[in-house]
Symmetry: C2
Subunit: 336 residues, 2 copies
DNA sequence: GTGAAAGCGCTAACAA
DNA sequence: TTGTTAGCGCTTTCAC
């Protein structure tokens, strides 16, 4: 069933070398030889053995994408784009899920069970920069959304502070004054939430509003359940609130769900802004205003970083900190 | 940086063979030797070269998952589960997106470009069984959701006809008589929609209701946009309707969105049932009744099929047609 | 323009 | 119990 170069060579009556040249298109081959070889190739239905090529090349043609989970909308959209973009560069993506588990992240960085990928794009969750730095090994790394540990690797992300500032300023511009921040995660060593909180606070301060701890809500994860729970708690405690800035769209959707159940009018009683620009947000009820990172650029730039490191390890550019654009997509959940 | 077996052997003062035995845990090694070797292993931070192992073993340890798209909820949930399940069997999953393109599906089956997987799990969309059969090649195949072409490969799916029947019967039991079927795809050679339509029709007939062509709506894809458009058209045409059975949850969510905009009460004016059991459905407004396939079993069984074919190609069991369970999850969109 | 052969890192058959 | 060595299939240097 599977034929080797050797078989094709035998059938065509030439050497292995010549067949290899025809297959790869490299080297010079006389026209009549190449026709003959091509015929043999077709007859045997030859397909190159990837393992052998990889061994020879010292590469696998595989890159890893490590994300907390594949089933959440933000990451599945990102993964889909990455798979596509990688394909154009003849790379194949293998996806690993860490489920926010520190050990899983560590294991991944150490290169589980064998050197398999040529590079790794990782969206850290539980690990701190220090931890990450301590375990990074061998393969080129690109961090998504988290500052690179001590300039150890490239990093691609939106600028969280101004993005959060922008979202909050939008709410302030609508006359809201009691704006809740949903999504703090002080227990994590991942700094994304911290940065968004920073932007939120900055905007409030600029508007002359003192941040109110009662309006800042911690969550365990960024899922809808958590947004729902946080919003419920807020309302149960009787905290006065006229807007919500959620650190993820899923949190925002959960909050929206809760607000509906309580009979609040959106955006009349409560304006809501999310973060991530997931497709769901457009279909929310009402459609959700959200900070949209340019996901295509995130994947493109991350791959570019990897390509540079993998193919030109010699030209050791210092680790890059790449900021991709974002924009605030204003929809009915704030401007009804 | 990367050390080979040879380097470890040199450092430990033993032969390659012995190191290999220690690494793989096979063969007999004297305790004091293994301690010595292990020390060398640790010191050099040895990790096996996957490409070399694969070449040797004649396997890649990779399995492919070919789905129309990764960003839609159903497929990302499925992919997430598969990645997890595969990990437990020491397999790595590479994901390919076909975007419902017939050529992409064909190319995948032919195993283009040289990246060779040990097996392929494919969720066909555009290709007919005949086409699939014509292009299947070499690697073990498992079809998801579509009958295997001429018993050529294993297939794992829910039983669409009874599932659709059940959903429709549920609506009939609520006294609905003008039940729309949303999601016909006569242009595709993929039989899923046809089977769901069959179940729908059967349930109607059993209730003494003649299917009304005006209630059967064709869609291009299974996305929310299509559900929204189909529902809009239905209402615009003034077709009398008191329930919708959508062939996917996304279609149902789109229809729901449209119904809301038109001011219909759910389920008072319109009861809605979806299909797929995506997480979103729970968070819809109101929560969506849906047919839930056991996704975990789908991935488990598919992997089991692959494992059987890959590891015991000799014991040629005839292609299996595996039916996984489903259940109708009744929520507020039908029983308010 | 084409052939012969080395060697990528690993496993396992064969020796000792 | 451990060492030696022949390939797995491919690319590529060196010779012709």
């Amino acid at each position: 069933m599977t034929s080797r170069l050797k078989d094709v060579a035998a059938l065509a009556g030439v050497s292995i070398r010549t067949v290899s040249n025809v297959v790869s298109g490299s080297g010079a081959v006389a026209e009549h030889t190449r026709v003959k070889v091509q015929a043999a190739l077709d007859e045997l239905g030859y397909r190159p053995n990837a393992a052998a090529r990889n061994l020879r090349a010292g590469r696998t043609g595989l890159i890893g994408l490590a994300i907390p989970e594949l089933h959440s909308p933000y990451f599945s959209e990102l993964a889909g784009l990455l798979v596509q973009a990688a394909q154009q560069r003849s790379w194949t993506v293998v996806i690993d899920q860490t489920f926010g588990d520190a050990d899983a992240e560590r294991r991944l960085l150490e290169g589980t069970g064998g050197r398999v990928v040529d590079g790794l794009i990782i969206s850290p969750w539980a690990l701190s920069p220090e931890d990450l730095a301590a375990h990074a090994r061998g393969v080129p790394l690109v961090f998504l959304g988290e500052r690179s540990p001590g300039g150890l690797a490239d990093r691609v992300a939106v600028d969280n502070v101004p993005a959060a500032d922008e979202a909050t300023t939008h709410l302030l511009g609508l006359g809201r004054r009691r704006i809740a921040a949903l999504g703090l995660q002080p227990h994590l060593h991942n700094g994304t939430a911290r940065q968004r909180h920073e932007g939120y606070t900055a905007a409030l301060r600029r508007a002359g509003i003192a941040p109110d701890p009662a309006l800042e809500r911690t969550v365990a994860t960024l899922h809808r359940e958590d947004g729902y729970a946080a919003m419920s708690a807020l309302l149960d405690e009787g905290v006065e609130v006229d807007a919500v800035f959620a650190f993820s769209d899923e949190l925002a959707l959960g909050a929206l769900h809760c607000a509906h159940q309580r009979g609040l009018r959106i955006p009349g009683d409560l304006a809501v802004v999310g973060f991530d620009g997931i497709d769901n947000a457009r279909w929310a009820h009402p459609a959700l205003t959200t900070v949209v990172p340019d996901k295509r650029q995130i994947t493109e730039r991350a791959l570019q970083c990897l390509a540079d490191r993998i193919y030109s390890p010699a030209s050791a550019v210092p680790p890059q900190d790449i900021v991709v654009p974002h924009h605030l997509e204003i929809r009915a959940s704030t401007v009804g």
